[in-house]
């Protein structure tokens, strides 16, 4: 390699300091030139010097010729064995079934070739296995399912195949399927995203289900607790006859004076009227004596009359008088006789013997049915008379029974 002839003419300088500085610069330049002072091995080599060397020229040519800049590292006789630098800033962003890894530093590695991604299911680098490679600074790990945690490490590999150090001793974890509440947009989950039978009771807030959320006819009996329906929940007029079990209404459930006549079936109730008088009444043979009376409004239904009294006749001389003493009666409704059909019915008659007949006394009981009472109130009278020998009645009683409402 020829030396460059550097010859510096020294001007005359009056300033000693400046002259000394210039002398130092001259010495330095001559040493770098190697032609006039210093050792040959200390001289500088220019690109032009290298252009004449075949091996050097090859390097220069690969670097773009003398017009371009030379690579920072010029090797001769083999590849760059320098390990790549450590990658940095590894982060893992987890999605539903993927972990997205990203890191920095590949652009700063001159002999960078690619990046290795190592993965383990625990934070232990010794258990990690090579999971993939990439030349980018991002890697998508398709885990395939949610709720899976992996730990990751990355390292760069040089063009000579030499790996650099892992990004860190501790792994960087990522867990799939970790969708937090904040990751879900408001109103984002629609019905199709909820599996059938997936919503359990604990997921429903108290008092959250409103009436509009319950379909018509959706609530059946089994969904109502025993004794849960109070009277306030039953609308007025809501309970119909069909909702009341047979024989369910007891007496205590009917208010006093609550049942009026219209609620009673026709002919269902017997309305009784009674009248009685204990005192004795003397009878006459010429004038009817009203021995008992009572009134009833049976609403045109038949009336049963139960009449009883004690009748007595005096003793008589059958031979001397017209005949034995007797008591006879008739029953009248108003002015209409209902029993007997006409005249009187003898209910007691003394027994005549050969001489005077003793007095006779007898309890009389009559049961009569009036099939055609008049509308409204009907007054029934029991009239009695004797045969002229003297008679009386006492303990008179009449019970009228009208089959009414």
């Amino acid at each position: 390699m020829p030396a460059v002839d550097v010859s510096i003419q020294r001007p005359k300088i009056d300033d000693p300091a400046l002259a000394r500085t210039i002398a130092q610069i001259t010495e330095l330049l001559e040493s770098l030139n190697g032609a006039r002072r210093g050792r040959e091995l200390d001289r500088v080599v220019t690109l032009r010097d290298l252009a004449g060397d075949t091996e050097a020229a090859s390097i220069i040519t690969s670097a773009g010729g003398v017009a371009g800049s030379l690579p920072s590292t010029i090797v001769s006789g083999g590849a760059d064995k320098t390990p790549p630098a450590q990658l940095s800033n590894l982060t893992v962003a987890s999605a539903a079934i993927n972990n997205i890894l990203s890191w920095d530093g590949t652009s700063l590695i001159p002999n960078y070739s690619y990046t290795e991604i190592w993965r383990a299911s625990s934070d232990n680098l010794s258990l990690a296995v090579l999971h993939g490679t990439t030349t980018a600074e991002v890697f998508a790990d398709d885990v395939g399912k949610g709720a899976v945690t992996y730990y990751y490490w990355v390292r760069a590999v040089s063009t000579a195949g030499i790996p650099g150090p892992y990004n860190a001793t501790a792994g960087t974890s990522g867990t799939t399927g970790q969708v937090l509440n904040g990751d879900i947009a408001d109103v984002a989950i629609d019905t199709a995203k909820i599996a059938d039978l997936a919503v359990v009771t604990a997921k429903i807030a108290n008092a959250a289900i409103t009436n509009a959320k319950i379909a018509n006819l959706a609530v059946d009996t089994a969904k109502i607790a025993d004794l849960a329906v109070s009277s306030a929940k039953i609308a007025n007029l809501a309970v119909g006859s069909a909702q009341i079990a047979d024989a369910a209404i007891q007496t205590a459930k009917i208010a006093d004076l609550a049942v009026d006549t219209l609620k009673i079936k026709d002919q269902a109730v017997t309305v009784p009227v009674s009248a009685s008088a204990d005192g004795a009444l003397s009878l006459s043979s010429t004038v009817d004596t009203n021995i008992i009376s009572a009134s009833l409004d049976p609403s045109s239904s038949p009336v049963n009359l139960a009449i009883s009294f004690v009748a007595s006749v005096n003793g008589s001389d059958c031979n001397a008088d017209a005949g034995p003493g007797y008591v006879e009666v008739r029953v009248v409704r108003g002015s209409t006789q209902i029993w007997p059909a006409s005249g009187y019915a003898t209910v007691l008659e003394a027994v005549c013997g050969s001489s005077a007949a003793p007095g006779q006394i007898s309890g009389i009981s009559l049961n009569i049915r009036d099939s055609s009472p008049a509308a409204g109130s009907n007054t029934y009278y029991v009239y009695a008379r004797d045969g002229g020998q003297g008679g009386s009645v006492s303990f008179r009683s009449m019970v009228l029974s009208g089959v009414k409402k």
Binding site: A280, S282, L296, T379
Partner: protein
Amino acid sequence: MIQSYIIYNTTTGEIIRTGFAPADQIAAQAGPGETAVPGVTANDVSDRWDLATGSPVSKDPLPGAALFAVPADGTTTVDFPGLPNPATVTVTGPVSDSFTVTDGSLSLTFDTPGSYKVEINAFPYANKEIEIIAT
């Protein structure tokens, strides 16, 4: 609702009869000259209706003795003066009879020996039973 009632003579207060009837039919139990009173119990023999107080009261006893002894000679009388009119008299015994006194005086004679019971019913007094021994 079934109620008790009494029927009394509107003029005299004599209780004519008593009974039971539906409340709305009690008024109909009273005939001409009678008054019905619901919700009251009484007995026509022992009680009367006090027109002044409007309530049932016991009849006063009829004055006079309750036991007599007379000869059965057909002429000796047992007298009961001052009876109200009318008074119903019933005699039971060896010879029985009944009649109504309308002149306020009763005189009985007996010609058949025996024990007689005389019952006098004369309102406003209580019925009176008298025993007469005729010998």
